[in-house]
């Protein structure tokens, strides 16, 4: 049983929590750009936390159901409709054979997640179905393709729908433009003035932003370091290239690089960043590792408690 893709939209990708353990050979992880939304989708349906979902960027994506199931929609509000009736994200919906599910365009945020009871059934490559188009890996056929018209997204039929929704308190606020940054080990190489500039300026999301990284435009910042010996790049690292315009490296990032880093965005912060559209304005705010740990524990505890 499956959903049939009627309209493939701009960019719809199969994702799980990512392909880990292969960065030593230069293979990036992939995974959901908004991990918080992704985790809630699987929690709502009582799925395994790594069950495959569809990440829908921007919208214009339509599916037709071939069998009954339950779905959860989380993340951005892409003006979704079920048989032409508006539905809102962060809750579950019953699906019956012949239903048409459509995601139109962003009302709030940029990326929506579609989870199905039991997860989408898809053959993993190197332990994951996460689609990384650049590396031609993951997805429906394992070749890294985005979803195409006519694709069949398989699932186990399910008839015992249970209505559930994410508690209001736990729904992230994508209008919050303050992105927390853990101060990096290369932070000392930025002068007091450069740091002040970085944390007090507005940055605009560039149209060159994608799943690899978010490029920002605004006050340039400069490091005392000219360059560094290439080293591993963690999720969320904020690179400062020669022109001083920050790049936040996200799920499809390259594994090593030689630019100085001012700090690192957490997964919770990166999830909010990934919901910003080109042209949106954000600011950075400094946090400690300790604060990042507590934020993460709170988020995981809410998920665990809810389950």
């Amino acid at each position: 049983m499956a959903f049939k893709v009627i309209k493939p939209g701009l960019l719809a990708l199969i994702q799980d929590l990512g392909r880990h353990g292969h960065q030593s050979i230069g293979l990036t992880t992939g995974g959901p750009m908004d991990e918080v939304a992704f985790r809630w989708g699987n929690a709502l349906l009582d799925n395994d936390s790594n069950s495959a979902q569809i990440e829908i960027t921007f919208g214009m994506f339509t599916l037709e159901a071939q069998a009954a199931t339950s779905i959860a929609i989380t993340g951005a509000d892409l003006a979704a409709t079920l048989n032409d009736k508006s539905i809102t994200p962060w809750q579950t919906y019953a699906i019956k054979k012949g239903d048409v599910l459509a995601f139109h365009q962003p009302v709030w945020g940029l990326r929506a997640y579609l989870a199905v009871k039991g997860g989408f059934l898809c053959e993993p490559t190197l332990g994951s179905v996460a689609t990384v188009m650049r590396e031609k890996i993951g997805g429906l056929n394992g070749k890294g393709d985005k979803l195409q018209k006519g694709d069949l997204l398989a699932y186990q039929a399910y008839h015992d729908h249970q209505q559930s929704s994410v508690p209001r308190l736990a729904i992230p606020h994508y209008g919050n433009k303050e992105i927390p940054v853990i101060l990096g080990y290369q932070y000392q190489s930025f002068s007091a003035l450069e740091r002040a500039n970085f944390f007090s300026s507005d940055y605009k999301v560039s149209s060159n932003s994608d799943r690899m990284g978010y490029r920002l435009e605004g006050q340039a910042v400069h490091s005392d370091l000219k360059g560094i010996i290439s080293e591993g790049i963690a999720y969320g690292a904020i690179q400062i290239p020669k022109d001083g315009q920050p790049i936040v490296l996200l799920q499809d990032r390259q594994t090593i690089g030689g630019y100085p880093k001012v700090g690192c965005v957490t997964r919770v912060g990166g999830s909010i960043l990934a919901q910003q559209k080109p042209g949106d304005i954000i600011q950075f705010t400094p946090i400690t590792v300790d604060q990042a740990e507590r934020e993460r524990h709170l988020q995981m505890a809410r998920l665990a408690q809810w389950r």
Binding site: H20, G21, H22, Q23, S24, I25, G26, L27, T29, T125, L126, E135, K136, I137, I182, G184, Y185, I229, S230, E231, G232, I233, A234, Y235, G236, A237, Q254, T255, I256, G257, C264, T266, R267, V289, A292, E293, R296, M300
Partner: protein
């Protein structure tokens, strides 16, 4: 804080820390990093390891470790390793056959001119050196191999190519590499190998691992074609 106690450990995020082994690139440092990487890879709760020239990025599962537990585990691992032990058990030598020349290496003439050598001398110096894989990255399986002999040092191309064919063997600064997939690239291309550097169906996935020693072996145009080499791509 005094930072002469290598390796030192810095938190990068709540899920990653960076081990720095030296401020300068050397074979000894590279050996040490390869050893530590092998040891840490055996532990559960380590999500990913990204070794490079002088550093090792450790990504850990924050359900398994908080930063204090991670630091302690890393310290305990490092304490049992002798940084001067050069006898890494599974260090391998990888031999890569290369068809050198203008047909598949459009920059070989530029390289020869820049280095004031003949094309044959460029080939000879390139294949007579044994290299070390200092880091893997850029694209999957792309190994940064060093060091090329001083006479072969060339700058990157001023305008990178938008498409470098698979298997291209190239030079930049004091390094050499093989392009495992079709990507943009600014290195100077001098030849091509018919063998795959990355294969998702194989056990090791990538032909070259960090710490391996690598040699190039010249082959003729015919041998290149027999081994499945492709001549097009530019």
């Amino acid at each position: 804080m005094k930072r002469d106690d290598f390796p030192h450990i810095d938190m990068v995020s709540n899920q990653a820390c960076l081990l720095t082994f030296s401020q300068v690139i050397s074979e000894a440092t590279s050996n040490y990093i390869a050893q530590v990487t092998q040891h840490l890879a055996k532990l559960s709760g380590i999500v990913d390891l990204v070794p490079s020239y002088t550093t090792l990025l450790v990504v850990f599962d924050d359900d398994h470790y908080d930063r204090f537990a991670m630091f302690k585990t890393i310290r305990q691992t490092i304490d049992v390793i002798d940084p001067n032990d050069f006898s890494i058990k599974d260090q391998r030598e990888v031999v890569i056959p290369v068809y050198y020349g203008k047909e598949v290496g459009p920059d070989i003439e530029n390289v020869a001119n820049h280095c004031k050598l003949s094309i044959d001398e460029v080939i000879k110096r390139h294949h007579e050196t044994t290299y070390r894989a200092y880091a893997i990255g850029f694209t999957p399986g792309f190994a940064f191999l060093g060091n090329t002999p001083d006479e072969l040092h060339v700058p990157r191309k001023t305008t990178p190519r938008l498409k470098v064919p698979v298997g291209s063997v190239a030079l930049a600064e004091n390094q050499t590499a093989v392009y495992p997939s079709v990507t943009p690239g600014g290195w100077q291309i001098i030849g091509r190998t018919p063998i795959n550097l990355i294969d998702w169906g194989s056990k090791n996935l990538a032909l070259i691992a960090m710490g391996d020693s690598v040699r190039f072996e010249p082959i003729s145009r015919d041998e290149f074609l027999v081994q499945g080499g492709q001549l097009d791509g530019f």
